[in-house]
Symmetry: C2
Subunit: 343 residues, 2 copies
Amino acid sequence: MKALVYHGPRDMRYEDVETPKPKKGEVLVKVKSVSICGSDLSGYKGGSAMRVAPLIMGHEFSGEIARLGEGVSGMKVGDRVGVVTNLYCGTCQDCKDGLQNVCDNRFIIGTTMKAGGYNGAMADYVVAPAVKIMPLPDSVSFDECALVEPLSISLRATKHAGELKGKNVAVFGAGPIGLMGVMCLKSFGAKRIIAIDIVENRLKMALQCGATDAINSNEDVLAITRKMTDGVGLDVVFDAAGVPATVNTGIEIARNGGTLLMVGMASPKIEIEYKHAVCKELRLQASYMYTAEMREGLQMIVDGKLNVRQMITSRYPISEGARIFEELASGKTSDIKVILAND
Amino acid sequence: MKALVYHGPRDMRYEDVETPKPKKGEVLVKVKSVSICGSDLSGYKGGSAMRVAPLIMGHEFSGEIARLGEGVSGMKVGDRVGVVTNLYCGTCQDCKDGLQNVCDNRFIIGTTMKAGGYNGAMADYVVAPAVKIMPLPDSVSFDECALVEPLSISLRATKHAGELKGKNVAVFGAGPIGLMGVMCLKSFGAKRIIAIDIVENRLKMALQCGATDAINSNEDVLAITRKMTDGVGLDVVFDAAGVPATVNTGIEIARNGGTLLMVGMASPKIEIEYKHAVCKELRLQASYMYTAEMREGLQMIVDGKLNVRQMITSRYPISEGARIFEELASGKTSDIKVILAND
């Protein structure tokens, strides 16, 4: 089969590789649509321990069942499917306690973890355990289904916020995770959703996704958000960036007793205004990956609660992937979400 | 009356001042027992914006009603009492939302806040609003009652931990807040309570207060706590210190999905292992002051659920306060909690 293989920093090649064979309990999925994640780009640039060459990336995807491994039932060749990409061990204490998202022994399709590498969906075919298959209704396109994985990240973070009805919320970073955060927050009843980013076309997209307000981070974010909230501050700050500026501005614009959702983590270490956070009695709540949220997110799309389609700004054949990765890495595009397709 | 007046860094004087008069709705309390808080010591050393000279400190105290202001009913001269020292405004959004602990307009007896200074209990008498009075049963001593305020800090933090039954918990810092944290955690059903401090006599006191284990912070805290928790890590870390070492070790020893209670805040800014905290999906929950926890804490003492008495290591007349403050500030004593008394 053909696959986009990561051979090292800025070295991606569309080449022939052996078609994988589904083992017992696994299925072979013919890839139809795979989305490029920011973490794939970091990996491509050589900045991620989670992308060790040689590796076929791609953990946001959809396709059709192409072949069933031994003992697999309940699905058939040709079925339209999405795939839950977190292959947790199921036996550690974290898994037993429902924290499969932080299982230390997990594989993730399309990445390199402590447990090892697992080839992903930037290829004609990908193998996945049958238990990870999600049936995909005809009403949801392959492209939309490819966005369920990032949606699950935003959905889990939003669930961590607690009750949102009538609340004032800010979202730092109007990239895919922040934008889907806007959609989830809106779906959960947040009253005012203020998107904050430095890129104007992303702010425009945030408004299209349901944000009530948009602030360019070059402006006086504290003064503007205080005015918007009658001097009180934000009940919840959803930080999809995770850099010193967003975290500390987040601590500042959150109301007393408020919540900062730590979703992005672009900076490994951050000096935070610690005493200030304590004196405001803030809750700094991290959210990482997903457990049941991929299936829940797909259902939200099926139910028409979210429109993830609007975030897809470009679509190319997987065969052009090497060029597309390089373009995205150069930062010259204003793309939000790019789909690689096997039509 | 006589009072211990803070005149500036390391300048405390026991001197004559005018006896305050209770206004409408206020009472005059004859002070019987007042405890020295770490924040009083910081103030004495000149390191606190919350202690602006001239000021009579003392926000952890008990006494007897000496005089009733106009319109006060339901209590009489001679009644034994404790006093809730947080004088919140009651009208701001924080107060309306039950967050009187972070009311930006509050006074605190014995401190200087944005709203202004309010003389405290290191004196013969102190004035307090009648609504802040807590009746003190004969079964609880004045000294014990003086410890209800710091107890309320530890109690609120412990309540922020959520369900504690059967949980493994570590407490950083075996000073008064950490020790009362140990007591509260025990009272709330925590299974294993591991006290961590660098001072051996404090660790000894922690075991006396109910800790199941004690670790000197010079040891390999990560390895030891991992072993104690079958490799999983701590469900909850109660950080009564709030310095870079405790916060980052806390992030390290907490289990995946665990909670770090941010109680101490000795360092204004702390560089934290941010990405690590996100990938473990931690909850960094600040706890600040108290709302109803002073009354709840007093009731716990009345009900015999806690023994705060054991933490009192020294007791002196208020008249000796200037010398005592200097001794404590020099760091030469191994005291845990010091009471100044008007016997």
